[in-house]
Symmetry: D2
Subunit: 355 residues, 4 copies
């Protein structure tokens, strides 16, 4: 059975409708790019870089608002202090493996230098999850060029999922994990807005995995589909990036980011100790332009936020599940194999519980 997106399997989670591509790129202006490194020489490498541009290149001088929440902060997201302080994001976001956060972070600075961006200094946002079970992390395979390639490759439209970009070597609920995305359209305050999510999913215990409430993880034994047993069960992390075109303020972005916790919980994530479950939400509905003394903004009423909250939870949930249904079985470092969630078995279990 070929890999697929969750909805292509006839499984619908959540109540709100997805956008055109059911992807974070449904938020106008958002672009995603990847560099994927899969090679066996000189080191066995299964890693990469995911790049997300909240806007086009005008982003450098036309910031979006942003907010962060760490459900469990055993991970890294550079740029944290700046976003907590200012709520502004004026550079692209990257996600990669744990040992490569630094090189990717400096690469964003180098890109700004290359493109003659008029900012004397930069505080780039780069997050990570750990892929050392499938990839030789100690070989430090990611270079600045890899990061810049992902940034340069960013495009709108459908977004590839599974073993791609920063998500290449991920493991999720003891199945092969990776990159996933989804979106929701909401009507509120008399307007229509989009909420999109992109996750790098690398967390979780098999027995806690649920799909639309169905205990799928418990129904697929490790005899049937092996787990990666020699890693402590809490190793791993999930990074979620939420995007919206709603006109919300930094403090409201923080609130939106917090709702990724809900979507994560619905799939079965409880924030294990070793997990870096860090969520960033940005909002393109306002513009804060460099050199502007006073910016004119719109603010969505707090009372009108509920559909966005539900959308954030639903998009996160489906993005994780898309990562699981898209990712293919992978053999990597030290001969380790991470097995994909078997889609026929998934369909069978769902059918049994949803008669």
């Amino acid at each position: 059975m070929p890999r697929a997106r969750l909805r292509d399997l006839g499984i619908v989670t959540g109540a709100l409708p997805p956008g055109q591509w059911n992807a974070i790129t449904d938020v106008p202006g958002v672009r995603v790019g990847y560099t994927t490194l899969i090679r066996d020489e000189p080191h066995v490498v299964r890693t990469g870089v995911t790049a997300i541009w909240p806007r086009g290149p005008e982003l450098w001088s036309d910031a979006v608002f942003a907010g962060i929440h760490a459900f469990n902060g055993n991970g890294e997201m550079t740029g944290w202090a700046w976003i907590a302080e200012q709520g502004l994001l004026a550079s692209p976001i990257c996600i990669t493996n744990t040992h490569s956060v630094g090189v990717v972070r400096d690469a964003v600075c180098a890109l700004a230098v290359r493109d003659k961006v008029k900012m004397p200094w930069l505080l780039p946002v780069v997050a990570e999850t750990y892929d050392g079970w499938l990839s030789d992390a100690a070989s430090f395979p990611v270079t600045a060029d890899h990061a810049i390639a992902a940034l340069d490759a960013a495009a709108s439209g459908p977004v590839a999922e599974g073993n791609i970009g920063g998500g290449t070597g991920m493991i999720c609920h003891e199945f092969k994990g990776g990159t996933g995305t989804a979106s929701r359209i909401v009507a509120t305050a008399g307007e229509s807005f989009t909420v999109g999510a992109l996750v790098q999913a690398n967390y979780g215990a098999r027995e806690l995995l649920r799909v639309d409430g169905v205990p799928v993880g418990r129904e697929i034994s490790t005899e049937a589909v092996p787990s990666h047993r020699d890693v402590p069960r809490d190793a791993g992390s999930i990074i979620a990036i939420l995007a919206t075109d709603a006109p919300i303020l930094p403090i409201q972005c923080q609130r939106l980011a917090r709702r990724a916790t809900t979507g994560l919980a619905w799939v079965g994530g409880v924030g294990f100790n070793g997990s870096g479950d860090i969520f960033l939400a940005f909002a393109t509905g306002n513009h804060v332009r460099q050199g502007e003394a006073i910016s004119a903004l719109r603010m969505l009423s707090p009372d009108a936020m509920n559909p966005l909250f539900q959308a954030a939870a639903e998009a996160t949930e489906e993005a994780i599940l898309n990562a699981l249904t898209a990712a293919e079985t992978m053999t990597g470092y030290a001969g380790h194999t991470a097995h994909a969630l078997p889609l026929d078995r998934l369909a069978e279990v769902m059918h049994r519980y949803r008669p």
Copy 2:
């Protein structure tokens, strides 16, 4: 069908075993007391006070550690600043209705004066949820004596649930809500610890209610069981108090508190805008005694926290469901009626989805 606890209905959520009473009082030393006010004259009142003592009266000079998390802070929990700063809790916790936070808070000070507690000042912890749909909140019915009575009545052992104490007038997922409790026993670090939860559940949308993943809310239409339609669907809140006897530090209590979010999500709470979803976790496993210059502590390894995290999520989930299955249909202020979750219908839906 008489009201019951969830497990008495044959429905088991979560994987970990509950304690003796499946209640927050399974944590040794924790005591719970109530004052319940149900009267129609001179005002229609459906309210009360819930009191939780983390230890016996020695608490005043033998603090426990504590930490708070607001998943959605549209509510009140006094004492917040102090717990965020010090991570110490040396006074009992009360939960009441929104308009009565103040009187209950000062009553804790008055109790300390009455009992000749040797603390010059106090920063009591009092939280609230809003019961103005069933109770005439503007009549300010709670007095200091009511609060002190709940504090004095606190006891160990089984804990009453549903329409009782601060939970008397609550509504949850558009059914009658209230007070609920549950507990879990965990083995970690070579020892056995208990995690208990007590919630005052007053939040949520019908269509999001799930029991063990089953979409119970969607299966019980408002034609079958009416909702309280004239209140904006996001009015309400949930307060969760988590207790453990594990020897964890303040920063670890914050982490534990954050896991109530997971349990809440499993039942269907997404943190609507108007909801005060505030969680406090305390840990009795250490003693910080007044006048002690240096305290000897034990700290559970972060690596050993996972079972506690799962327990916190599971106990919160089941405590909410216990509030729903225990609470009885109530008619109150302005002739409003909040309908109980019909247990026969619940059983039927669960059976259909869990063949």
Copy 3:
């Protein structure tokens, strides 16, 4: 020598010019009111309530933005969770003594009921500092009527200082403390804005007191002017309320609040363990009106914030010093006397260090 404001003594701190009244009321629309309780029967009481309205009564449906910072959170400020979550303030602020936070908090709810405010629930902001050395705190002397009287008395114009309102029984740097206020005018972003501060100053060690950098505290020995020796030297707190008419967002209000720390440090406050050093900043430059689905806002550029930051520090510094120079020697509970900062001695020391 009669009590005076700092500038009336020829002492100027800071570089920015003050507003018309050198008071928080220089921010248009801000009103301050007091109830002061000084009586010896049936209990020796030296306490009161300070009320601050960020706008006129339209505040209930026309919120200002706000943000909080606790430099040392050993104190109480109700409403914290809501402001941290939403950054909105739609009710007046009160400051009183520690044991009366509750009654004053509920009184704000009662005022809203009295005035038929169309908000189903309220999360009032009430802060405190401890006056139990001069006042019989255990007599719980403040009533709801006292709080409502302060709220009803609020007015624009010059603001009384020293032994008044919530500041009546305060002690600061081991001199008589109390209520103080100051303001600054700043030019930024091509416009002129006002920053005002009001403090209830009840903290600090004598030897750390500085006026414009001059070590005044070290120069006035406790032989010359007695201290209140039987209280641990860190008992006490300072509440600072900052106001501005600049169009800043909630996250920017948090930043402004944090700068009260700087002003406090300049006077000699280091945030002793027992001190509740809690600061709230609100900004009237935007309007968030009830029922408005999307609000049109202006946002001051982060780059234009520096003058506001300096103004916040300077106004806080001078407000504390005004509390000290205005407060008169007071004898109260248990025959305790708190001695005023001697103005002739202050002048002499300043002259010696600023030749």
Copy 4:
């Protein structure tokens, strides 16, 4: 007049006594190392790396407690999320220039690989301030080897100050800035503890500079000593690392970190918008050893924290002033010259104000 430490000039700030070296290394086990890059070819470079080891190499498996505070978060400190979550620090701290955070961060991972540290993943703490006025930041001059050299060079004993390590190209209060350190000995809880500070000082306006309350900055005009006029006056940052051997918990480390704000204020820092004023405090008084299920700890009573708070403020203040008195005039990138604080002028002003 040769450069000197503040105390060598006869200027004493604060009341508490310094340790043996008046340096962060007075805290037993703390080691500091530098790599300094000063060269004109192929690029004009004035930068470096500062490395701080909280303990010896056993640190990798014997964590210290830590806490962070951002007074103004316009800067970077990687590892933030992990320390906020766990309060543990098990790797060395580095400080460098803004564009080199990444390479230094990954170098710490590489060091752990080199030294066969048994941690599968790492979240190193690397902070920065911007030196692009004196150094060609866009040439990305720092390499992993430079970082590792600083880490390998770390030693106990006296600590070099001024134009060294990460502080090489810094500017502070419009004079040449750099690296500075100081310490204090405190007696509390019947024991003696040390608090040390190390700062990388790169912030501030000339007119706000104060030394022991004396307005030194206002007394040294830019005609007398030129400023670096073409940089916006708020460019810059200060990183402060506080160390103590007191047995304090993570939440207490956060409190200690917050007191760097006070020391910074005393020198004249108000947290300008563009400044990354980020403070980390660690405490070696407890050991959390890898593989230990439950750790035995000691906790200093909150009531005993005051001397540590004052020490943190004083050590930060003097560390900044030591950076200023040690740093020498430097000419660098684009022919820019940053002028040192003239020590003879400093002495003259101090003498005038402290007769």
